[in-house]
């Protein structure tokens, strides 16, 4: 009997023999599962017996990853970190945490409760961030879904709708409705440049009707997608449609220019994830796994490239220390490198020193009550044209007494400069006053707040050094990405997507693969 085994049956047999992992591997081999891009850095050759000493400058995500991978391959690693903690710009603030802002040292006054925390740096993980997800899986960091897009949240523009916040649901539905009606009419009158076949024309008309939920006469007269109006809810009372908003008022709002499409971007599209309990669970998991020594409060003073290694000097507790290593992985923000005594070749030094110092900043507010949940908002983002840009509602801790909202997200140097000039207390007052324009009594709900403007944080003074023009990326990025001798610049700054954890991991992956190739080549020679 020559029974042909179905794929499902085959996988069943594999499962019986080898368990779930075997099924997974077999499925991948059969092309039934997409390759999730398991990082190649996991296949590092064993370290050579001599010449395996590595010094890592900076205990940010890239530095931790490099230490984690290299010590598993048998390298002798040492990590030197300037600040008082590991994690770099993966910073979750909780009760009692130090906020290390230059000139404004302070302590986070959130209540001592596990759900009251604020991710000041990285906060979101998308499904295609396969390197981040690989390490979360491998290190056992629990993740949860985090709402980014919420139709019940608001769009707010002081110059539109009389300054009144409008539910994103209503804005989006009406915008699509108006657009669909126009589309329907254009197709109906055959106003396309290219003639449509009759079938295409009919399909297109149906597309327009479905997209905007047009009525029988192909007119947009409101849709239940905008939420019911006239005091009805569609459950205990028959739902009645809201009248569409005024088209010119809608066009007058800035929402459609950018924010309306924000959550379409691949890095922000639903669903997103975040570690349960705070983003710093990721660096904490690395720090737990790593055996290599990590010296905190150790500021690098000198980096010297030598023929067969790198020498590093650092200060720790008022004393000078030196390390001689075979390889150096440098995670230090690019703008600090010119301030460190070094013997880099001129082009290398100038390219690093010339990288654009970007800035981001967030304000977190502990609220006395979760008033937004009484406005039907559970997670997600309200967008405003005010300087605070956004308000984020926590997806976790639903129906608890208190919650921490993001009260401001400033993007880029111009926006952060406005907040950097203020004292931390002034920033919180400013964020409160802006929130009052959106939620009644918002500022009165503020218990306490934190602000982290990365451009003022000790040992950071910026957020995500980068290049800006296509010419710079083409000419200068390879200079920074490739090592100089045995010195590798690394970090999210050495990726095409700085400020994202996936960028940090991709830099670690590139540098480790590069090291691995030279080590393998040396072994063959």
């Amino acid at each position: 009997m020559n029974e042909q085994v179905s794929r499902r049956r085959f996988l069943g047999l594999v499962g019986a023999a080898g368990g779930a992992t075997a099924v997974y591997q077999a499925s991948r081999a059969m092309g039934l599962l997409p390759d999730t891009g398991k990082p190649a850095l996991l296949q590092l050759a064993r370290a050579p017996k001599s010449g395996n000493k590595v010094v890592i400058l900076g205990a940010g995500l890239t530095g931790l990853t490099i230490a984690y991978e290299l010590e598993r391959a048998g390298y002798d690693c040492t990590i030197v970190e300037a600040s008082h903690r590991v994690g770099g710009r993966i910073l979750t603030l909780r009760h009692g945490d130090k906020i290390d802002e230059m000139g404004y040292d302070s302590v986070c006054r959130f209540d001592d409760e596990p759900h009251l925390y604020f991710n000041c740096g990285a906060a979101r993980i998308a499904g295609h961030h396969h390197r981040v997800l690989h390490y979360c899986r491998e290190l056992g960091v629990p993740l949860e879904i985090m709402a980014n897009d919420n139709a019940e949240a608001y769009t707010h523009d002081p110059d539109a709708f009389g300054g009144r916040p409008v539910r994103i649901r209503e804005f989006r539905t009406d915008a699509r409705g108006f657009l669909s009606e126009l589309l329907y009419k254009a197709v109906d009158r055959n106003e396309f440049d290219k003639p449509l076949s009759e079938q295409d024309r009919l399909n297109m008309l149906e597309f327009a009707r479905a997209y905007g939920e047009l009525n029988e006469e192909a007119r947009y007269k409101g849709s239940k997608r905008a939420g019911f109006g006239q005091g009805t809810d569609g459950f205990a009372s028959l739902g009645l449609l809201k009248d569409p908003m005024d088209l010119s008022e809608l066009l007058n709002s800035s929402f459609w220019r950018h924010s309306m499409h924000f959550n379409e971007d691949e890095n922000w599209a639903a669903p997103l994830m975040t570690p349960t309990g705070g983003m710093d669970k990721i660096p904490q998991a690395f720090a737990r796994e790593i055996q290599s020594p990590i010296t905190l409060n150790a500021q690098v003073q000198a980096i010297r490239l030598r023929d067969s290694g790198v020498e590093v000097a650092y200060n720790h507790r008022g004393k000078r220390h030196q390390i001689r290593a075979d390889y150096c992985f440098n995670n230090i923000p690019a703008h600090f490198v010119a301030g460190i005594d070094n013997n880099f070749p001129e082009t290398y030094a100038k390219t690093i020193a010339g990288m654009y110092r970007n800035n981001f900043g967030k304000i977190g507010l502990q609220m006395k009550s979760r008033f937004w949940e009484r406005e039907n908002i559970y997670g997600g983002i309200t967008f405003t044209r005010q300087r605070i840009n956004q308000i984020w509602y926590p997806s976790h801790g639903i129906h608890r007494q208190k919650g921490v909202v993001l009260g401001c997200y400033a993007f880029g140097r111009d926006q952060t400069a406005f907040f950097e000039r203020m004292t931390p207390q002034e920033r919180i007052r400013f964020a409160g006053a802006a929130g009052d324009k959106i939620h009644n009594g918002y500022s009165e709900q503020i218990d306490t707040g934190v602000s982290v403007m990365w451009g003022r944080m000790k040992h950071m003074m910026g957020c995500g050094s980068t290049f800006r023009s296509p010419e710079e990326w083409e000419k200068l990025f390879p200079i920074v990405q490739n090592p100089q001798g045995r010195h590798y610049m690394v970090g999210d700054q050495v990726s095409y997507h700085p400020t994202w954890q996936e960028g940090a991991f991709s830099s670690a992956e590139f540098a480790l693969q590069h090291l691995d190739q030279r080590v393998r080549a040396a072994a063959r020679a």
């Binding site: 010297r304 000078r320 010119a338």
Partner: protein, 210 residues
């Protein structure tokens, strides 16, 4: 044989000491509370242009004290157009009078290589223009404590140029209480043109610190 070994050992020790000296010969290691200064101004306060933080290595302690005082009194770093000054101001504001003296002492002991010239100008014209500057700052730009005029050699040239323009434009020296700042603002306001700033700085770049 033994002699050879001793000689080798001695040589090794010497080489080790020498290679350590390359990395460890800084004259001063900052106290933990002054690591703050090095975050932006760099190791041994050598200056970081990307952060607009000038070289301070070996700067006269009296001038450092005066400027920290000026920052803490909002004479400097309060103007809306002075972003870098704004970044500095909170750092000075947290220092007590004894800490200011301590910080100034630390700054004056730091040493670093002379900075590279980055400003291009007509040094010959700059020398002529500098004549009036030299009345206070000294003919060799060595500074004059009695007149409150700092040395102008050994600083970051891009910083000098920006500060002269800041004085000229009223961004610095705007507070009436800042006597020396007001004087300098008046002096900068008579510069004939914008090139004059770069020309003077280009001339200063030709001078060596004493």
């Amino acid at each position: 044989m033994i002699r050879n070994t001793v000689a080798t050992l001695a040589l090794t020790l010497l080489l080790t000491l020498h290679s350590q000296a390359c990395l460890a010969d800084d004259p001063v290691i900052p106290d933990d509370k002054f690591v703050y200064c090095t975050v932006c101004h760099g190791m041994q306060l050598r200056g970081i242009e990307q952060l607009q933080a000038p070289r301070l290595s070996g700067m006269d302690a009296w001038y450092v004290r005066k400027q920290l005082d000026a920052f803490s009194k909002n004479w400097r770093g309060a103007h809306a157009k002075d972003y870098a000054g704004m970044e500095m101001r909170p750092m000075a504001a947290i220092l007590s009078a004894p800490e200011i003296a301590e910080a100034a002492d630390f700054v004056s002991k730091t040493r670093s290589p002379m900075p590279e010239a980055t400003v291009a100008g007509d040094a010959v014209r700059g020398e002529k223009l500098y004549t009036s500057c030299g009345v206070c700052h000294g003919t060799r730009a060595e500074g004059n404590e009695g007149l409150g005029a700092p040395a102008l050699v050994g600083g970051s040239d891009w910083y000098l140029a920006r500060q002269i323009r800041n004085f000229r434009d009223g961004i610095r020296g705007a507070s009436p209480a800042d006597m020396y700042g007001v004087q300098m603002r008046a002096a900068a306001s008579v510069l004939p043109d914008d090139d004059a700033v770069d020309d003077i700085v280009a001339y200063l770049n030709t001078l060596q610190p004493e």
